[in-house]
Symmetry: C2
Subunit: 297 residues, 2 copies
């Protein structure tokens, strides 16, 4: 599609009033305060060249909305930085974009379309804006707080293995390709918890980042990491689940007595670093706690 054709379809999607009909170079946002977050997805790094374009659109928006969920924010809308990439892919992407915007009541605020050199991997960026946030930081955990996580962990990691050829159920593949940002949970939790973030790079690495930001040590018991029935049937490997990433669940610190549907998986104490237990017994840390971006040069 040409830039003009692509933007003509974007205009048919839900537009934020700030977009001014997408006829200008800028948007004018009136809500305040605003939670702002941005994520870039790279073909071959964050998604597979074989992932359907509809699912890439979904994941691109959903991962950003997951960051808003961790602040208890209500989505206002998104900016989309999009590389035009061939008619069929562009059209399928727009279908997935319409689906994810509708699913989470989110609107287009603006963006930029570019052309890539031939054979370059697709690199897509979304910036998301949210309002009405309690916005707990990741640095607010206190000594003695318990560590909780919503939902189940490891489904998306299993889904990635299935996308790469392993045998497994479609619900695990969907967890990888169509993550569900926990917006409702985030709005309920945010005013009451001391620290919160989403699990994107892996439960262990993200928990250790919360501990580092809060100036504390954290202990996690692998036996307490919540697994889905589908994941138990697929492999049930708890360490793989806790380091796989792409879960987009909410990880938060709150008092031991906190009443929540989320699962208590550990606790914060004075000190630093991550200690791993399995049913109460210390176990060695794995060589990788999750996904970290490394330089290519």
């Amino acid at each position: 599609m040409t830039e003009a054709e692509f933007i003509a379809v974007l205009r048919l999607l839900p537009l934020h009033v700030a977009a001014r009909g997408l006829v200008d170079d800028t948007a004018l946002l009136d809500a305040s305060p605003l939670v702002v977050t941005t994520d870039t997805l790279v073909e071959g790094v964050h998604f597979l060249p074989t992932d359907p374009a509809e699912d890439v659109a979904w994941k691109l928006v959903a991962t950003n909305l997951s960051d808003l969920a961790a602040k208890g924010a209500t989505p206002e809308g998104i900016l989309l930085n999009y590389p035009l990439g061939g008619d069929a892919w562009d059209r399928a992407f727009l279908v997935g974009l319409a689906e994810v915007l509708t699913a989470f009541d989110t609107r287009i605020i603006g963006g930029d379309t570019v052309t890539l050199p031939p054979s370059a991997p697709r690199i897509l960026t979304v910036t998301a804006f949210g309002s009405d946030a309690a916005a707990p930081a990741r640095s607010g955990a206190r000594e003695g707080d318990a560590l909780y996580v919503t939902g189940t962990i490891g489904d998306a990691g299993a889904g990635l293995a299935i996308a790469l050829g392993a045998d497994g159920p479609s619900e695990l593949l969907a967890a990888y390709r169509r993550p569900q940002p926990r917006l409702a949970d985030g709005r309920i939790l945010a005013p009451h918890v001391y620290a919160m973030m989403d699990v994107s790079d892996g439960l262990l690495i993200d928990a250790s980042r919360m501990a580092l930001a809060s100036g504390l040590a954290v202990t996690i018991d692998l036996a307490d990491v919540p697994l889905s029935d589908a994941y138990r049937a697929f492999s049930g490997d708890r360490l793989a689940a806790a380091t796989a990433g792409d879960d987009y669940q909410l990880l938060f610190a709150a008092p031991e007595a906190f009443v929540t549907d989320a699962t208590r998986i550990g606790a914060f104490s004075a000190g630093s670093g991550l200690t791993l237990h399995d049913s109460g017994k210390p176990v060695l840390l794995p060589s990788s706690l999750g996904y970290e971006h490394r330089p290519r040069g």
Copy 2:
């Protein structure tokens, strides 16, 4: 550099209070209303693989600030989506980033770093936020308005030719590599003009976009397009200047009697489309009015 090393240097640059020290996944912006704009630069498309990383950083931020200038906004800060790309390039990029942030009193609000597959072109995105904007749209030109442009046109186009090997002065090369967003002009003009935008893709194509958005025809006289002495000495080709792009001057519609340092280059009338004159005589439109993104597929 690793992601952690890169972010550690970012923390030494001017940080917006909304960045919360870059220890969180989200920023919390309190100004309202906000002008928001985003631009993506692609290696091999928007900049040359041989362009110094310092200059790429400058251009990436400056092109976004130019969109803020066209709305009369004062820069608040930026989000940076950055592909880690090798120690030397990353460090040089950070030097240029510090320079452009300092030059235009702009701060880091947040961003995302990613790793690219080997040999992928660099793709960089900046999203810029501005406050206190009068925010004239590009669609507000009225029948009978004159069309004005600030500064001179064509210098950056000549600078691109020089970067590609042509002989020419360093000031033209600098116009291409270190564009100067017209922030002060924008703040002065924005409350008084009827339509305004920056010239990024080429004077003729951008003027025709303003006319289209305003539902009007526009006539431009090539003989009135302002050229620098350096450009006259380099080539003096007015049609090349008016279609080259990357000027980052401000293009605006205002009454014929408007008092301004900018140059009157044309006028709006009922109808549609662009008509080109040269010293009052009609001339044929060139086959390309400027830069348009085309699909690769």
